[in-house]
């Protein structure tokens, strides 16, 4: 029952906040929302504890019958029921734990906003949807949560709806993710029509059963599985901002920083990873798709890293970084390293939330200045935030000992030998790590070292609420890697691993560990002018500007995907819409309008306010009536 109650704390809080929106004081509103989150975090902690102590490796609760998909009674039921196993336990602890900390931060961060209650209400609603997504025991309920988080993402990106850019970003996010969602929905339909079941456990067991049996899949069934996996991947790609559908994520940074931290770094964007991990049974029997996943992840990893190198906006750097880290997770999933992927998901949630929140604190201190070329020298001015930011960055770079090190090394370690990955992808991962360390250093140098390039007085917020949240996150980032994740029970292996004859080369680990240091070393010299306090030279401030090289601009604009889509999709669609503007249906509609308008004009003419005219019309009517009756 404890499990069942989990999503209801934030739900109740959401309802309260929405109903009494402006009548609540800041204190009360934040007490309600953060309190509800604290309760959620507490309960999920209890649940994880309970799960680890229980003999069975899952807890499930059946709330109520929703509907049946099949016409036969009690067939293919869709119920509102929750299912908690190791994978979802990781997810709920991330969602509720990090969510709670970000709520705590947000309560302080958004204090002065006029619509504070609405903001917190959306945040709570997001948590509700995310928990439903994670805990759903069937794919329909999962899809409900999936769309719920999409809705909340839309609402929160467009939270400051008076700004046009925010609204456009919200719309873009909504539409782009909708493409993935549509693909996912089709995948679900296909799944149901092929296997007649949508319950996750049932589907998994069905497929495993058939796949492991002597007979194996028929040709038709394997084709089905291939397409289902591909379509589900489409959904995951949309939600997790992977390659073809990644363009919405950088724009989504227009939302308030806590939103970026919670939704667009820690939780929602990893829903795609969660989906693939959850449906791994399907993917296991579609090795081609696994391969696609791996390659998709690798390419995203590299491209996003490249884009991050050229950004000028601190949040956009982090956004591309998020993209690239999720590429890592996808790479892991594609290589069959399920545990490593999920582990990276968790650690990434910690340090990326920390990075975003710290960046938020910095932005707040600089009066909403987000351009890193207008920062510099903040290490001396904001030592606390800088220290935390450094912690986040070394986790991101995966320096040994940090949580990022454990998870990323786990991924890289499994790549070389994986059947669906291989040495090529291993090299991609290494280059990705190198890029990560280079853009991290660039960001750090630009923002925190060098001369001060801002003029306003710093606005230093010393809210203990904010700071404590940041501190906890920093501790989690540093030591989160020590949490041992054992998800082997959750993830199914097709058969005992064959002993691979080719042993991995011995230099692999050395290179993997050395890579970040190489990156740092490279940056130390290459970005010297970012790092050195150039103030001393002649006492004249040299203004640093972002590189105006064409390639740099190309990278800054997200490697031209936006313009590509503009040419490929939007322009043709607009052309079609323009052509379609005067089609038959429209003309029919317009003729109705024209007809109504015509009668309006006639009636207006008749209603001329002239009494004698009315009387004459009256007389004419009587005359006509009598005339008709005579004839």
């Amino acid at each position: 029952m404890l499990l069942a109650s989990l999503p209801f704390y934030p739900l109740v809080s959401f309802l309260l906040l929405i109903l009494f929106a402006k009548r609540l004081s800041w204190r009360l509103a934040s007490a309600i929302s953060v309190g509800a989150m604290a309760l959620t975090a507490l309960v999920s902690g209890l649940l994880v504890f309970e799960l680890s102590n229980s003999s069975s490796h899952f807890i499930s609760v059946d709330l109520w019958h929703w509907f049946s998909l099949s016409s036969q009674q009690r067939m293919a039921e869709v119920n509102v029921s929750f299912y908690l196993d190791g994978l979802s336990a990781v997810m709920i602890s991330v969602v509720s734990g990090v969510g709670f900390l970000i709520h705590l931060f947000a309560a302080a961060y958004m204090k002065d906003d006029a619509n504070f209650s609405r903001f917190m209400a959306y945040m709570n609603l997001f948590i509700v949807a995310m928990l439903i997504l994670v805990l759903a025991d069937n794919l329909v309920l999962l899809y409900l949560g999936w769309e719920g988080v999409g809705l909340c993402s839309f609402l929160l990106i467009g939270f400051w709806y008076q700004e046009q850019a925010n609204v456009l970003a919200a719309r873009k996010a909504f539409i782009v993710t909708r493409i993935g969602d549509t693909s996912m929905a089709i995948g679900l339909f296909w799944l149901f029509s092929s296997f007649g079941e949508l319950n996750i456990t049932a589907v998994s067991e069905l497929i495993r059963g058939v796949g492991s049996s002597e007979i194996g899949f028929s040709l038709q069934e394997s084709t089905d599985i291939y397409w289902i996996a591909l379509l589900l991947l489409g959904g995951a790609v949309g939600k997790s901002a992977q390659l073809p559908l990644q363009t919405w994520l950088p724009d989504a940074m227009a939302g308030p920083t806590p939103v970026s931290a919670l939704i667009h770094a820690a939780t929602m964007v990893t829903a795609g990873v969660y989906l693939i991990a959850r449906m791994h049974s399907v993917f296991l029997f579609a090795p081609e798709v696994m391969n696609y996943v791996a390659w998709l992840g690798a390419i995203t990893l590299l491209l996003a890293g490249l884009a991050a190198l050229a950004q000028t906006d601190i949040k956009r750097v982090l956004a591309y970084s998020t993209m690239s880290q999720i590429g890592y997770m996808m790479l892991a999933l594609g290589a069959g390293a399920w545990s490593a992927g999920v582990f990276h998901l968790m650690t990434h949630a910690f340090f990326k939330a920390l990075l975003f929140l710290t960046a938020g604190a910095v932005i707040l201190a600089l009066h909403h200045q987000q351009n890193i070329f207008k920062m510099g020298g903040l290490l001396k001015r904001l030592p606390f935030e800088s220290a935390l930011f450094v912690v986040g960055l070394i986790c991101l770079m995966a320096l040994p000992g940090t949580s990022g090190f454990f998870s990323k090394e786990a991924i890289i370690a499994e790549l070389w030998l994986s059947t669906t990955a291989g040495p090529a992808l291993w090299w991609c991962a290494i280059i990705g790590a190198l890029l990560t360390s280079i853009y991290s250093c660039r960001l750090f140098f630009l923002a925190f070292l060098g001369n001060e390039r801002f003029t306003e007085k710093l606005h230093i917020e010393k809210a203990s609420l904010m700071r404590s949240a940041l501190l906890i996150l920093a501790l989690l980032s540093l030591f989160g890697g020590l949490i041992s994740l054992d998800l082997s029970e959750v993830f199914f292996k097709i058969k005992a691993e064959e002993l691979i004859s080719v042993n991995e080369p011995s230099w692999l680990h050395t290179i993997a560990i050395a890579t970040p240091f190489v990156g740092i070393l490279f940056s130390w010299f290459y970005f010297k002018n970012y790092r050195v306090d150039s103030n001393l030279e002649d006492g004249v401030k040299t203004n640093l500007t972002a590189s105006e090289h064409r390639f740099a601009i190309f990278c800054r604009n997200g490697l031209g995907f936006d313009s590509l889509y503009d040419v490929l999709l939007i322009k043709p669609y607009q052309l079609l819409a323009k052509l379609n503007r005067r089609d038959f249906i429209d003309q029919t509609m317009m003729s109705t309008a024209w007809y109504v308008g015509l009668w309006h004009d006639v009636m207006t003419m008749i209603q001329n306010g002239n009494l004698r005219w009315y009387l004459a019309a009256f007389g004419l009517a009587i005359m006509t009536l009598i005339g008709v009756s005579i004839l």
Binding site: A616, G619, L620, I622, M623, I626, G627, S629, I630
Partner: protein, 176 residues
């Protein structure tokens, strides 16, 4: 006594002619008070018709109420509020028949149709000089028509209130 058939008939037609001519003068006149006088004449002629049609009570009412009260009210309003004065300003500029042509056409068509209908109905009745006594009218009024009488009384009350309300001077205004 004046019981000669021909006399009564010719009297009726005379009165009818007077009524029609007077009504025409009412409609076409430009002097308000003259028009009112013609209207009185028309009403009196109609009253004579009523009398000759065997409804002396109605004839009496026509003179007392219509000519004696309602039209006096008209005259009173015209005198007191100068309602007759603007005719010269706002009357149609040309007093020619053309101005009324449309209305006359309409009315003529209406009249033609009505006559055709009445003619088609093949009414064979002739009027009877037997007087429908006022007693019978009274019995009717307070018998089957009681509700109508009540409604008429409400109507009169409404007319009284509305007349009072509209015609009283504005209290908050400058006048009075």
């Amino acid at each position: 006594m004046l019981t000669d058939l021909a006399t009564i008939d010719s009297l009726f037609y005379l009165a009818a002619t007077v009524a029609v001519i007077a009504s025409l003068k009412v409609v076409t006149g430009s002097n308000t008070v003259h028009a009112l006088l013609y209207l009185v004449v028309s009403l009196l002629a109609v009253a004579v018709c009523f009398y000759l049609m065997g409804a002396p009570f109605a004839a009496g009412l026509e003179v007392i109420v219509y000519a004696g009260a309602i039209l006096v009210l008209f005259v009173f309003a015209v005198l007191m509020f100068g309602l007759g004065k603007d005719e010269t300003i706002n009357a149609p500029k040309s007093k020619s028949v053309a101005n009324m042509f449309g209305a006359m056409l309409l009315a003529f068509a209406l009249l033609l149709e009505l006559t055709v209908i009445i003619n088609n109905a093949q009414i064979q009745q002739t009027l009877q000089a037997n007087v429908v006594s006022s007693k019978a009218v009274g019995i009717m009024l307070y018998g089957p028509y009681l509700l109508a009488v009540e409604i008429a009384s409400f109507l009169l009350l409404a007319g009284l209130l509305a007349g009072y309300h509209y015609a009283k001077p504005d209290v908050q205004g400058s006048q009075l």
